[in-house]
Amino acid sequence: MVHQILFIVFGLICVAGAINLLVQRHPINSALSLVVVMMALSLIYLLLGAEFVAAVQVIVYAGAIMVLFVFVIMLLNAGEEERSRGSRIALLVGVPGVIVMAGTVGWTLIYKSQHLGNVTIGSTDFGETHNVAHLLFSTFLLPFEITSVLILIAIMGAVVLGKREG
């Protein structure tokens, strides 16, 4: 019962933040509502027993990535979004397509929810850092090392792109 109430509260905060992201016209307001979505998601991860993922969500997403966004918004002095015509294909094909997809996925999940089973509130010793780290440095060692190369390449790409030509 507690699990359900907590899930509904955090889920509603999530959806409200995401809708606010779409409604707001100033990018800084959108960025701040995205922070709200990410914090609520990290609480939902805690409900699922994913301690490590919840901490990384707050530190990396709500911290580092959103600071980068806010920094760029302020650097470029981004103001209110201009109202322009937009893409007609996106309006005519995209939006109905998304609505149909959302309806189908939602209906299927709810209709088949008996077969999917339940999620219990996560025990705290399930997703703690120790267990994730053990897996990361044994089974998934090679992908982990490859991501470090990926990060290095991304840093170099960002520096090259951000450098003023001259």
Binding site: L48, L75, L109, I110, V119, L135
Partner: protein, 111 residues
Amino acid sequence: MVPLSWYLVLSAILFCLGIFGFLLKRNIITIFMSIELMLNAVNLSFVAFANYWNQHAGDPGVSVVPLSGHVFVFFVMVVAAAEAAVGLAIIISVFRTRETLNVDRVNLLKL
């Protein structure tokens, strides 16, 4: 006890809101934030499935690496961080040449 489908429906709702933002917003930074929202939605379903399969780890016919969902979320976050760094650098360089953040005005490659 919450049905797994609730988590998946929440994930689908967030993903679809992200697609709506991607299609309807005109500001390149907000479009980029919508992509981040979609990545977050996918992460939520990974974590929900990780919890679900952890409970069923001992069942006959089920062979899963417990917690592999969490590790995959970790990799998604790494890729998202790299993508944010490169993408925002691209946005800065687009702004430098075109002096605008509106995607309708960045249309040199359009037929």
